[in-house]
Structure formats: structure tokens, C-alpha cells
């Protein structure tokens, strides 16, 4: 039972990292990323290849983050003169390109067979039995670090500027800010975070193949951000945890409902994710929690 709990928490942590990145890109800066799964795969494969070459897991994580940041920046740059619809299709296309490259370039990625035997960080430090717990501890530290960094970022001038870009980029441009630079930076930082998530996904499973990176990942990350409340990192923690527990918990359904086969159960899960997404958008667009905003009363000092 503890082992199961540790597994779920590990998956929740990876989902939270993904959610944090989408919350920065879409929640705060208003840039839709439909290629989450592709960037995630890019991060996982970069990290796996570097780690397998024996360069160490830290170098692998940094490489994954850098590659994903560069790829994100490039994608954002292509669409810089256009409205958000084009970014959505470009990111979706980018995700498909990554998937096709991974499937086709067998010499590099192992094709549909995947990459086995990916090294793990701090492997051998503790007994094999306790390792999962150590990994979870490490992951929680990473999540905490990213969460605090992003909370600081939201409150920084940069954070305010990107939220202003989301609301009305023309006003921001009028105020003399470089909208293009802000958007590219926000998208690149988000990309780096996806890269980190990908790296930890690869370390955790020690084996990656293309089937792990389907569009489902994009869907549940959006679901987590929408449920948590767009723009709110705290809400996201809750959103990602709830979504992941529901997804993982619904695996037990197959013991209860025996009329349905595995494919049908998987389909029901995805239908529910899709429905949840739509229902939240219609009935509770603000999500569980509200985004951080400076209260007017804090700006005007009360005269008492």
C-alpha cells in the first residue's frame, strides 16, 4: 500500500511540474501550448540519451531543460506576428513532428521499442527497496523549488508584464514593453520546466517509448490548470493532485466493472477528462482558486 501511495505521489509530482509550466505559458501569459506531450517527450528523450551516454543525471536534466527551452522559444518566435490561434496549431504540429521523429529515427530513439535502462539520480545511495521513497523526496524538493521560484516570478515585474500581455498586448506595447521578448521568454521558461518534467519521467520509469507521450498528457495538463484556476499556482497543486488521483484511481474500476474491457475503460477515462474540461470552462472558468492579484487596498495606505 505504501508503495502504491509513493507511486501515485510521484506521478502527481510530475503532473504538477507539467501543470506549473502550462500555467506559466497559458495561465499567466495566455499562450496556448497544444504540444505539451511533444515537448515532454523531447525532454524525456534528451535526458535519457544524455544519461545513457554516462554524463550523469544532473547534466541530463540541464540538457533536457535547455533543449526544450530553445525549442519553445523557436516555436514562439515563428508565431510572434500572429494571433494565438496560430500558436496553438504550431505547437500541436511541433508535438506531432517530435512524435514522428521519435518513431522513425530508430538509430537514435529505438523507435517504437523505446529506450531501456535509463540511469537514475542517486542510484545506489540507499537500498533498492527504499529508492522509490528517495526519488519521491528528490522530486518533492524539485516541485517545491519550482513552485517557490514561480510564485516569486508571478509577483516580479516580469510576472506582472506577462499577465498584462495576456490581458491586452497592445496596452503593454504602448507602455514601452517589448511584447515579443516577453512572450518568447515566458514560453521558453515554460519549455524548460516541461523539459525537467520529461527528465524526471525518464528517470522514474527508466524505460521510455513513444506510447507514453500521447495527446492525453496535453489534455490532463490543461484539465489540471483549468480545474486549479488559470494563473494560480496554488490552485494548480490541488488541480493536478485531484486529476492524477482520479486518473490513477479509475484504474481500480476494472476490478469492479467487469463488463468493460481495458480499451473501453481507457476510453471512458478520456471521455471524462474531455467532459471535465468542457464543464469547467462553461460552469467554473475561474477554477478552484483565484490567481494572485495585488489588492487595491494594499496600494493605498489606510489613513487611520
Amino acid at each position: 500500500m505504501t508503495a502504491y501511495l509513493v507511486t501515485i505521489l510521484t506521478l502527481v509530482c510530475i503532473a504538477i511540474i507539467l501543470g506549473l509550466s502550462l500555467n506559466l505559458q497559458w495561465g499567466l501569459c495566455g499562450m496556448v501550448n497544444f504540444g505539451m506531450a511533444g515537448f515532454f517527450a523531447l525532454g524525456a528523450y534528451s535526458a535519457a540519451l544524455v544519461a545513457l551516454s554516462g554524463a550523469g543525471t544532473l547534466a541530463a536534466t540541464v540538457t533536457a531543460a535547455t533543449i526544450c527551452a530553445l525549442a519553445s522559444a523557436a516555436t514562439a518566435l515563428i508565431s510572434l506576428r500572429l494571433s494565438d490561434e496560430y500558436l496553438a496549431i504550431l505547437t500541436l504540429g511541433f508535438g506531432e513532428v517530435i512524435r514522428l521523429v521519435i518513431l522513425s529515427e530508430e538509430w537514435l530513439t529505438g523507435g517504437s521499442l523505446g529506450l531501456p535502462g535509463i540511469p537514475r539520480p542517486f542510484w545506489g545511495l540507499v537500498s533498492e527497496k527504499d529508492y522509490e521513497l528517495l526519488f519521491l523526496g528528490l522530486l518533492i524538493l524539485v516541485v517545491l523549488g519550482l513552485f517557490i521560484a514561480l510564485e516569486i516570478l508571478v509577483r516580479s515585474p516580469f510576472g506582472r508584464a506577462i499577465r498584462a500581455v495576456r490581458e491586452d498586448d497592445i496596452v503593454v506595447a504602448t507602455l514601452g514593453k517589448n511584447v515579443t521578448a516577453l512572450r518568447v521568454k515566458a514560453f521558453a521558461v515554460g519549455g524548460a520546466i516541461i523539459g525537467i518534467a520529461g527528465a524526471f519521467h525518464a528517470f522514474y520509469l527508466t524505460y521510455i517509448d513513444p506510447s507514453q507521450f500521447s495527446a492525453i498528457i496535453t489534455a490532463y495538463t490543461f484539465m489540471a490548470v483549468i480545474a486549479g484556476g488559470r494563473g494560480s499556482n496554488k490552485g494548480l497543486l490541488l488541480g493536478a493532485a485531484v486529476i492524477m488521483c482520479l486518473i490513477e484511481g479509475s484504474r481500480f474500476l476494472k476490478d469492479v466493472v467487469q463488463v468493460l474491457d481495458a480499451t473501453q475503460l481507457a476510453a471512458i477515462r478520456l471521455i471524462l477528462i474531455g467532459l471535465g474540461l468542457i464543464l469547467f470552462l462553461i460552469y467554473r472558468p475561474q477554477g478552484f482558486a483565484r490567481e494572485y492579484s495585488l489588492k487595491g487596498s494594499k496600494l493605498i495606505s489606510p489613513r487611520t
Partner: protein, 287 residues
């Protein structure tokens, strides 16, 4: 060899053109890119498959049934999902359309599973004209797609509905002032989109195996075609689709065929850098 590839490309382009027109009409009238277009195509193909394989209808009648069923489904989805979100931003709508895409695709998967299926049609010998090999399927595809496009042209150019649709697409406020009911136009637009996408689904199902990811494989190309023609411009979408069909097929002479979608992706990436309004689009750049 080249002529053969170009011919195949034209036929592929015709399959892409139909959902590209549907996409561009939705964008023109409701101002959001409908990411569920791929799932709609899949569902259309499955409707036809059910009529064809379970009810043993000939494929033509199965296609008609599928068109009606998908038109009803599209109007229903609009009523339940897109209409309540009408006044929200395009981003909200496109995320919602992604949700719709998941629901539709997985309802199909739930009912018929993951296995690949094909229509019950008699296998015909390919015809030969000079050096060209032409499948009967290709002839049917070209004939069906061309008639559908002609019908759309007539509707858009020569009927009151078409004029109203173009008016709403051009300037919704002005159209409203003139007494055009946007909701009614939107409903008809979904009917047309459903019919076109269902036909494309049947044609795609003739071309390759029917599985839950059938439509997904076309999404990037369909969007690329619509963007190439300038989003919101139906004639541009056809031109974009034919161009991409030929370019994708020709590219298979040089690069592995599984990289077809990459070609489309690169095409839109370069196009967006060089000519953001699309080949035929009017200038509508936000930033």
C-alpha cells in the same frame, strides 16, 4: 513517376480540402479554430462504417447517413458546448474544442475499440491511362469531393444563406444590424461542416484503415491547408489543400513517407514567417 505522384497528391488534397473548408467556415463565422475537426472526421467515418458493415447498406447510402448523423452531432455539440461559450475568448473556445475532440474520439473508441476496420466494398482493378495507374477509389474520391466543393460554391455564392454566411464572416456587427440571425447562420454552418467532414471521413476511410486516430492524422495538414489559404477563406482552403496534397506526396520521393505531416508543418512554419495572412488571405495581423 512524377505524374503518378502528382495525381495521388491531387486526390489526397481533395480529401483534405473538405475538412479544410469546414474549418475555415467555422473560423469565419464563430472566430475560433475548431480543433475537434479531426475527431469529427473520425466519427463521420465510423458512422458510415456502422451503416455499411452492420446495416449492410451500400457505401453511397452509408455516406449519406453518416453526413446526416454528423451534421446532427455537430449542431448538438455546438448547442451543448460552443454556444454557452460564444461570448468568451477564442482561446477558451479552442481549448473547449480540444475537450470535444477527446470526447468524440473516445466515444468512437468505446463503441468500436482500437482495431483497424475497413468498408465492405468490392475491390476493383486499377485502370491504366498511358503511364498512370488510377484506382477506382481515386475516381470516386475526386468525383465526390469535386461535387461537394461545387455545392459549397453554389451555396456560398448564389443563395441567401451563403450571402448571410459571408456577411457574418465579414462583419458580424453589420450583419446583425441588417437583421441576420447569427445563431441561425451558425447552426447552418455546423450542418455544412458536418456534412463536409463526414464525406471526408468516408473518403479517408476508403484511402486508409478506419481507426480512432484516423482524423487525428489529418489535423495538422487540414489546419496547414486552411492557414495556407488564409483562415476564413474557403477558396483559399481548397487551393491550400491541393498544394499540400501534391507537396506531401511529392516529398515521399525524397524523404520517408511517415514524415508527410512534417512537410505540412514546415510549410506552415515558413509561410507564417514569410506571409502571415496566408496565400490568399487579406491582411489580418494582430501583432
Amino acid at each position: 513517376m512524377i505524374a503518378q505522384v502528382v495525381l495521388n497528391g491531387f486526390v489526397t488534397g481533395m480529401i483534405i480540402a473538405l475538412p479544410a473548408i469546414a474549418l475555415t467556415l467555422t473560423y469565419g463565422i464563430l472566430k475560433f479554430p475548431n480543433f475537434a475537426i479531426g475527431a469529427m472526421l473520425t466519427v463521420g467515418a465510423y458512422f458510415a462504417y456502422i451503416a455499411n458493415a452492420w446495416l449492410h447498406l451500400p457505401l453511397v447510402w452509408a455516406a449519406v447517413l453518416a453526413a446526416v448523423a454528423l451534421a446532427i452531432t455537430s449542431v448538438g455539440v455546438d448547442r451543448l458546448v460552443f454556444q454557452p461559450l460564444r461570448e468568451r475568448t477564442a482561446i477558451t473556445l479552442l481549448v473547449a474544442s480540444m475537450g470535444v475532440s477527446f470526447v468524440l474520439e473516445n466515444v468512437a473508441r468505446f463503441v468500436l475499440g482500437n482495431s483497424a476496420r475497413s468498408f465492405e466494398v468490392a475491390i476493383a482493378r486499377p485502370q491504366r491511362y498511358f503511364e498512370l495507374r488510377v484506382n477506382m477509389e481515386q475516381i470516386y474520391t475526386a468525383a465526390t469531393a469535386l461535387s461537394a466543393m461545387l455545392a459549397i460554391y453554389i451555396i456560398l455564392r448564389h443563395t441567401a444563406l451563403g450571402r448571410a454566411m459571408r456577411a457574418v464572416s465579414d462583419n458580424p456587427a453589420l450583419a446583425a444590424v441588417r437583421g441576420i440571425d447569427r445563431e441561425r447562420i451558425a447552426r447552418w454552418m455546423w450542418v455544412i461542416a458536418g456534412v463536409l467532414t463526414a464525406i471526408a471521413g468516408v473518403l479517408a476511410g476508403l484511402d486508409r484503415a478506419i481507426d480512432p486516430l484516423l482524423g487525428w492524422n489529418y489535423v495538422v495538414t487540414v489546419f496547414a491547408a486552411a492557414i495556407l489559404g488564409g483562415l476564413g477563406n474557403p477558396f483559399g482552403a481548397v487551393l491550400g489543400a491541393l498544394t499540400l496534397g501534391v507537396v506531401e506526396e511529392t516529398s515521399t520521393l525524397l524523404i520517408p513517407p511517415n514524415y508527410r505531416q512534417v512537410v505540412s508543418f514546415c510549410a506552415i512554419a515558413f509561410l507564417l514567417l514569410a506571409r502571415p495572412q496566408g496565400l490568399l488571405g487579406s491582411v489580418r495581423v494582430k501583432r
